[in-house]
Amino acid sequence: MDENEIKNLQEENDKLKQSLSVKSDIVSISAHQIRTSLSALKWIIKMFLDGDLGKATPEQENLMRKAYEGNDRAIGIVNELLLANKTENTTEKKYVFESVDMAEIIEHSIFDFSGEAYNKGIEIIFLKPEEKMPALRADKEKIRVVFQNILENAIKYSNDHGKVFITIRKDGDGFMEISVKDTGIGISEDGKKKLFEKFYRDPEAQKKEIIGSGIGLFTIKKIVEDHGGKIWFESEKEAGTTFFFKIPEFKQAQI
């Protein structure tokens, strides 16, 4: 390849990067605007459901509840879109590894998802160890995406009034292991083989949540592996699923 060809390829590459960045900004801005409209809908329907605007008939209430759930699903899709958009950028960007307090990420995430959990009557229980856990060597923003994706799935696929248990522990091999256990529908036999494939959606999951992108688990597996970690699950049909991931502990000389 001569110098001119290399130069042309570099120029083409720069143009592609630029258009990807413009696309990413468009997705991000649109998602924000859509979220604003969906927030308004969510609050108004909730006012109807709470009887703030007068007592509804059982039929009206039933329809309003369906509208509320449909709206929440749409919010979930926008959240997935943002995740996919962020991950597309992630592959372009280097990871910034630092010392990360996982318990803090868990506690903040529980707060962020408390509304969703409350609506389904699901209790999130963080079995936080009494002693302070060692920090992770991780990219804080990306590991937050990993945890929140697993937690969101646990809530989404749990049966109403179920429980979600979260643990964190040292595994003894220089890794910290985090687990999220739900009391949900479980994963099908087919799903057990293909769950981390791009665009795969478990048939059991589709019964529960019709809409989903099938990109979340594929994305977070890549993030965990880029950290030198591992992600896996144990699942029993109708009894629930536990997701585990482990990430190396932070050691001073690693950065």
Partner: protein, 125 residues
């Protein structure tokens, strides 16, 4: 005496819904749609504010800049500020936390009841 909350939100419709809910909960509510209106209220010593509810994406001067200016004023060093926005990236949360906030809530993930409960936890009813 009722506690006073300032809502800084440029979307009139959302601002109206938030104000209606908080008034119903027994708070006095003042509202601003941009930084000029916001500082007119904040800088008026007659308004003894107890909490500020702050959106981030605002025309011209954004919520981060407003927050920065609020914290520069000695009188408002410790006033509780809840960011109520549809931004949710870690960099936005970190930036707001650095400037000093009580809570960062993503609008689409919470109902107004949950917002009211959070406010009650911070300043009482």
């Amino acid at each position: 005496m009722a506690k006073i909350i300032l809502i800084i939100e440029d979307d009139n419709f959302l601002q109206g819904l938030e104000a209606t809910k908080l008034k119903k909960e027994g708070y006095d509510v003042l509202a601003a749609g941009n930084s000029v209106e916001a500082f007119k209220i904040i800088d008026d010593p007659k308004n003894k504010l107890d909490l500020i509810l702050l959106d981030l994406l605002l025309p011209e001067v954004d919520g981060f800049m407003i927050l920065e200016r609020i914290r520069q004023n000695k009188e408002f060093l410790t006033i509780p500020v809840i960011v109520f926005s549809n931004l949710s990236e870690e960099k936005d949360i970190k930036r707001a936390q650095k400037l000093g906030i009580s809570e960062f809530m993503v609008k689409s993930n919470f109902t107004l009841d949950e917002l009211a409960t959070k406010i009650k936890g911070l300043i009482g009813s």
